[in-house]
Symmetry: C2
Subunit: 390 residues, 2 copies
């Protein structure tokens, strides 16, 4: 099992402290496991305290030996009750907490213990740190992408007329898991869950659901209303396979198109336009344009190609993003989207997904996970991009 | 696709209002999707407002048509911004919110909009309502259990020496998903995730992790440190398969033991004791004993059988519960556990899981999902309980 190297964790903590100092924070707590994993290398039941001056301390409820093995931090100590932390936080006046994800009652509990301390939302700092990835993180996302590549290679062997979308989804799980796919795509959100098995065929590609996505799919029930469903896959319909993979917590996200027999022209044409938009936007990504301007540019391209009304959804369901940052969570910075007035930077990793949706008949599009490094973009999910007709 | 009947939803809302009145609440908001699914039948992106007097209103962000189809509520209305709700909450003075799960910032946002209103934690009321299940809910859990039964029947066909735990986990996903298994086991917790693929062989059965469980397993990485791992399954070791299933959001949880070639005597004996504890506790469950007393009774039984030190974990890792309530979440009431001073009631559904753990060599035990109805217990997960030797 691979553990985060000491210098990796130290680098992240050092960058955190720089931003804490700028924000006049003399301490910060990290209670959400995805966040303290980033700063410690472990997701054991614990919480992290980072003082501006001094060593970070990981307080571990369970299991201490495993936390010590997984985390290169010097201070990994067992804790039973929250009150035990009091001696460690003396002199802290202005302290960061993840107020965007931590439940109200838990924050109140900390406020009760810490007393007269100013509580500040540390989530903007976390998001800022995580918007660019280190070479170590990129290597894990490369591995996730390589798992995805192997899974997609197997699809032509198993995709058959008459099987349900979810049957295919289950098979892809059985291919991906032995390669290290962890099965859950984490999202920074109370209510938004992402499923790997986002497989939509024909009309289910045009079904909208609760997620802020061009297409949601039918899903399995009102309790899981997104992704693959019990609909049978038929000949001659577009089959959109958006199968996210997770490795050591890091995700790769990609979409490819398949069909049995043939794919109707409209979806083929839409796919070609999406692919064109995808590469044209990437080629502009490092010109200093804002993400908002890149998004407008992509809309212009879709419009010129005659797909204005299908681009990223139809009618009132059109979404306002073309790409989302990706890493430990599926909704990191950057977003190539309306209102995002920052440019694409070195070290960013994002999933770019131009897609076209046609009411009642289906969807078509492409998605790749892309890293910006050495002033260039590179597709991590280097999977055959031709439409696969079986 | 199956939707919650109108009378089912009306019954739940009526019971909610009774408890709201007792707690002097004149309104309650439900922002967490598992909770508003329970009261509405839909998990579209929405939030629910229930006034003590008057009809509940589901405010839907996306997607309104689907929410109207899935929910039998009369008032399902689209909403764009939180401020839109103001006209609907006039006269509310004391209002419930799920303060145990809703992030601090979101609660603050509501406080800002609602102004001078008293905010009360509604989660104890939610837990109280959900501690017993309706016949409709039990029917969904029966279906989940029937999926599990089919999956377990297939295990002997595919379990082979030399395959990894996670390879088996992936195969079980491929069997379960086409039957309607939804792949995620929801838990009411910030940091606790449950994976279906809880498959532990030999020594991984004795590995402790962050979860409050007798055994955690090795998992796939520090980011997914629970459940099936890359360890190869060998001859002559205990193989514990705890494969939870979810159907329409409702879960069934069960554990059975397997071995290739033979199972060492200690694990066979431990299994027999666990099975004995399981049924003896069930036979006492309806005598009016508290859950705490039932738990102590189970410890006595394990001790008398000579398994005091292995029961529910070893040394400092012994856990203090034998059973957990189950439904839409994996940690509902009741808990047959230390400190739980309530009795088992009609309508409760729980997973009872006596397990023995032996340091470095593995674990053995049984688990069933059990419903209390007509004054009797009934095992929903009626799967062969003999140890399967391949």
């Amino acid at each position: 099992m691979l553990y985060a190297p000491k210098e990796e964790i130290e680098g992240r903590i050092a960058r955190l402290k720089t931003l804490m100092e700028k924000a006049s924070l003399d301490g910060a707590f990290f209670l959400y496991k995805v966040d303290y994993y980033y700063f410690t290398g472990t997701m054991q039941d614990a919480f992290l305290f980072v003082p501006l001056k001094g060593k970070p301390i990981l307080f571990v409820r369970r299991e201490i030996n495993r936390a010590r093995k997984e985390s290169p931090l010097d201070e990994v100590i067992p804790v039973k009750v929250f009150n035990d932390i009091k001696p460690y936080i003396k002199g802290i006046r202005r302290c960061g907490f993840e107020l965007d994800v931590i439940p109200y009652n838990l924050i109140m509990k900390f406020m009760g213990i810490l007393g007269n301390i100013e509580f500040v939302d540390i989530s903007p700092i976390i998001k800022c740190l995580r918007k660019t990835k280190t070479p170590f993180e990129i290597s894990l996302m490369e591995k996730a992408a390589s798992i995805a590549k192997k899974v997609y290679k197997k699809i032509p062997d198993v995709l058959k007329e008459g099987m349900t979308e979810i049957e295919l989804g289950g098979l892809l799980e059985s291919f991906a898991k032995p390669l290290g796919h962890e099965g859950i795509l984490r999202v920074r959100s109370l209510n938004y869950e992402a499923y790997s098995w986002h497989i939509l065929s024909g009309e289910t590609g045009s079904i909208v659901s609760q997620s802020d996505s061009p297409m949601g799919g039918l899903g399995l029930s009102p309790a899981f209303p997104v992704g693959a469903s019990m609909k049978k896959i038929r000949k001659g319909e577009p089959i959109l396979i958006d199968y996210g993979v997770c490795y050591h917590g890091y995700q790769a996200d990609q979409t490819r198109m398949f069909a049995i027999g043939h794919m109707p022209d409209i979806f083929v044409k839409a796919y070609e336009v999406c692919r064109d938009v995808h590469y044209k936007v990437l080629d502009k990504a490092l010109t200093g344009m804002t993400c908002s301007a890149l998004f407008e540019y992509s809309k212009e391209l879709a419009k010129k190609a005659g797909f204005k009304d299908a681009y990223l959804g139809y009618g009132p369901y059109q979404v306002k993003f073309l790409a989302h940052g990706i890493g430990l969570e599926l909704n990191e910075i950057p977003f190539i989207a309306t209102g995002m007035d920052y440019p694409i930077e070195e070290g960013m990793v994002f999933a770019i997904e131009p897609k076209m949706v046609f009411p009642k008949i289906g969807a078509s599009g492409i998605e790749n996970t892309v890293v910006i490094e050495k002033g260039k973009w590179r597709v991590l999910t280097d999977i055959n991009e031709e439409i696969v007709i079986l």
